[in-house]
Amino acid sequence: MEPRVQSPATQLVLVQAASSSPRLREMTATLHRPTGDQTQALVDDGSVAGDVAQDGIYVAAFTGEPVRFVDVELSVAGAGAEAAYRRVVLTPDARLSRLSFYVEEVDGAAVVSRAAWVQAHGRHPDQGAALALHAGLGWIAVCVVYVACLVALGQRR
């Protein structure tokens, strides 16, 4: 049979970044598209849908036709010089794609890196992974205790 497909009409690309340094929170995102560049400042004032004001996660929202890749540039002003990240990256979802970045100050200079997710209040993304790991270990402990109780109950009866 001939392929039949459904695709969303529009795509929201959310560029979001957290910074560990108070001096490095002036950020600008640019999407370089064949049809022209789009630039926005990242904000944390709640004005972007879904953004929680003052939580330390800065966001810029771009809406357009769904794309598979986007040439994204994140510029950070401050710390005496401007640093930038630029690369063609995959947009993982045809409806809503979050491109996450983490900004930190190393030897007085800004360093921008891609991240799996962003954490509020400038916490490192690895802290989120550690939280998930601790939750998993806690859940295992609960299950082991539950089965231990069943075993003990079985022996008493």
């Binding site: 049979m1 001939e2 392929p3 039949r4 497909v5 459904q6 695709s7 969303p8 370089h32 598209r33 064949p34 049809t35 036709e65 769904p66 794309v67 598979r68 890749f69 986007v70 040439d71 690369r87 063609v88 990256v89 995959l90 993982p92 979802d93 045809a94 409806r95 891609r114 991240a115 799996a116 997710w117 993304p125 690895d126 989120g128 992974a129 550690a130 998930a132 790991l133 939750a135 998993g136 270990l137 859940w139 295992i140 609960v142 299950c143 082991v144 539950y146 089965v147 231990a148 069943l150 075993v151 109950l153 079985g154 009866r157």
Partner: protein, 597 residues
């Protein structure tokens, strides 16, 4: 294997009237069916018209579903890896290929894949449930726990989210175990051995990893049978057909597959580390796993399964058979770590394991993803867990044990994160391709300087271009059957882009010669169309590449499209008379490799 329950394990309460086999089967399929819908949510809503996944292997699976019928007769695919063509002997998923060929007339490729994702885990779980019930004597509904552990595991989520969805249809491994148990029992007959052999062949036809696991399971079962079965002649008669079938299939597989030079066989040592289980990952899925080198590998043990397995020695004392499965489960866990165990979350902390020595063995270098040995943990651990739950239910009453179903459902849906991690990717193919001559080979032109496919985000490109080919059907240069060490699209594309960029350099006095060189190369290769992927070329060189291609094609692009998730300018080239495209490509490839002409 089945044994009467000890007196102490007699049911404490008057049991409800037993369910008929049909009712039990219906309940089992309904339970696993609903769980499959939740596990793969929101796939069921798509009607098979959208792609729900996380990484890119599903592009290749859809390509295979489209090409199934065309590939099967002569096992050669001339329309990819052009001009060399590709041998279908490289395929590792024959079951999927056969299913695709059988359903091609009634289902679209996306529907085939969606159906496989939805129905595969149900049949896989059902087979594991049957093994628990008939092989180990676990009562319903506790036998369902074995199916959940095996069919809806972290590796099942990985298979779906990475895209190699043929792993999800694996009732063969539990059936192999069940028939091997029968063949090695005192009532073993040759037909049991024959069925076990057939089940192993189906494992092999699903993927070589399952064949490896199946061989381990069968070998352990045979050894156990040899130790316990007093009638050795009966054992030999019952298992001889299995040995014959497995031997013939193994020889055929080794002859056709093991000599082929694919990317995996030439992978550097570092590659192995990307496919092993991590210590932290055994506890839970974390969002970071979907960002590691274009993979989504997550293999949590399952808290419910682990909790029950830990108490197996205490609860199952005196019962036969379960130690074999516990041993197999632990063996799967150990093998999953491969040569080094990742001890931290940062993808940089590794410790060598005793299996490090095995990396020098040729066979081990083909085990590219040792983490897939965890299927053995999910099967063996799930069986032992179901047996423990059954025994506990006999002792304390089913009501106390019933919350285990909530536990395993949380493990399947939250612990693996399957429904939380899926993304809907763009399913449409750019319309510009339709402007290309119907039968002419097509070159996809893209790349980041220095035009190597090394960047993580570019690893998807080869799979995506094959996915496009499933729709536009023109011969392409990417190898779509399996990644090869040398990709003709990358070799030719690099040469073309280099010539075009050098030609545009103002001091270059040989502009005409370089444009002519591109034209001659494409003509010698028989290329009839060039698709310039503007999203995948730096903005700074768009004008250069488009201007150069206009000179090469002696005109503007035949079509420019921005649908299907990409902006593509398609140039049609005049029909030439290529004498020997293969020789022309091989000469270019030799030059790129730095070899003498």
């Amino acid at each position: 294997m089945t044994s009467p329950a000890p007196a102490a394990d007699a049911p404490r309460r008057t049991a409800a009237p037993p369910l008929s086999d049909a009712a039990r089967t219906l309940l089992t399929l309904a339970f696993y069916g609903l769980l499959s819908v939740a596990f793969t949510w929101p796939l069921v809503l798509s009607g098979g018209d959208a792609l729900h996944t996380r990484q890119f292997d599903q592009y290749g699976v859809v390509w295979m579903a489209t090409r199934g019928v065309d590939l099967l007769p002569d096992l050669v695919d001339p329309s990819t890896n052009y001009p060399l063509g590709a041998s279908v002997e490289l395929v590792d998923a024959w079951i999927h290929l056969a299913l695709a060929a059988a359903t091609q007339a009634i289902l679209t490729p996306l529907q085939q894949v969606a159906l496989l994702v939805l129905v595969g885990p149900v049949l896989t779980a059902w087979a594991a449930e049957r093994l628990a019930a008939r092989g180990l004597g676990v009562r319903f509904p506790w036998s369902l726990l074995a199916g959940v552990a095996f069919g809806f595991s972290g590796l099942a989520a990985t298979a779906w989210l990475e895209g190699h969805v043929y792993f999800l249809l694996d009732p063969w491994l539990p059936l192999l175990a069940l028939w091997t148990l029968r063949a090695t029992s005192r009532a073993g007959r040759p037909v049991h051995g024959l069925l076990a052999g057939a089940a192993w062949v189906l494992c092999l036809a699903t993927t070589a990893y399952l064949a490896l696991i199946g061989a381990l399971v069968a070998a352990v079962m045979l050894l156990r049978g040899a130790l316990l079965q007093p009638d050795r002649r009966r054992l030999a008669r019952a298992t001889a057909p299995m040995a014959l079938v497995v031997g013939v299939a193994s020889a055929a597989y080794a002859a056709s597959f093991l000599g082929v030079d694919s990317v995996e066989e030439t992978a550097p040592d570092g590659w192995v580390l990307s496919g092993v289980a991590s210590l932290g990952g055994l506890a839970a899925w974390t969002p970071a796993v979907d960002m590691v080198r274009n993979h989504s590998i997550s293999a949590p043990l399952g808290a419910g399964t682990l909790g029950l397995v830990l108490f197996a020695p205490r609860v199952l004392r005196g019962l036969p058979g379960w130690r074999t499965w516990l041993g197999l489960a632990v063996a799967g866990l150990v093998l999953a770590f491969g040569p080094a165990v990742q001890v931290g979350l940062d993808d940089r902390s590794w410790a060598a394991t005793p299996l490090l020595f095995a990396t020098d063995l040729p066979v081990w270098r083909k085990v590219h993803f040792p983490v897939r040995m965890m299927w053995l943990w999910y099967l063996g651990g799930g069986l032992v867990a179901a047996l423990v739950a059954d025994r506990l239910a006999r002792r304390v009453g089913g009501a106390w044990v019933a919350p285990l179903f909530v536990v395993v459902l949380i493990d399947a849906l939250v612990g693996t994160g399957a429904p939380l991690r899926a993304r809907q990717t763009i399913a449409a193919t750019p319309s510009a391709y339709q402007a290309a001559p119907p039968d002419g080979p097509l070159l996809d032109l893209l790349g980041q300087p220095p035009f190597e496919d090394r960047d993580d985000d570019f690893a998807v490109v080869g799979h995506l271009l094959c996915y496009y080919q499933a729709t536009h059907r023109r011969p392409v240069l990417d190898p779509c059957v399996k990644p090869l060490r040398e990709n003709p699209r990358a070799v030719v594309g690099r040469e073309v882009l280099s010539l075009l960029i050098e030609a545009a350099d103002p001091p270059d006095q040989h502009l005409g010669q370089r444009v002519e060189a591109v034209r001659s190369l494409l003509e010698a290769l028989g290329i009839r169309a060039v698709a310039v992927h503007l999203d995948l070329l730096p903005n700074e060189i768009h004008a250069v590449v488009l201007g150069g291609m206009e000179q090469v094609a002696a005109g503007p692009p035949a079509r420019v499209s921005s649908d299907g998730g990409e902006t593509i300018a398609l140039f049609v080239l005049p029909a030439g008379a290529p004498t020997d495209p293969r020789a022309a490509y091989e000469a270019l490839a030799r030059a790129h490799r730095g070899e003498a002409p």
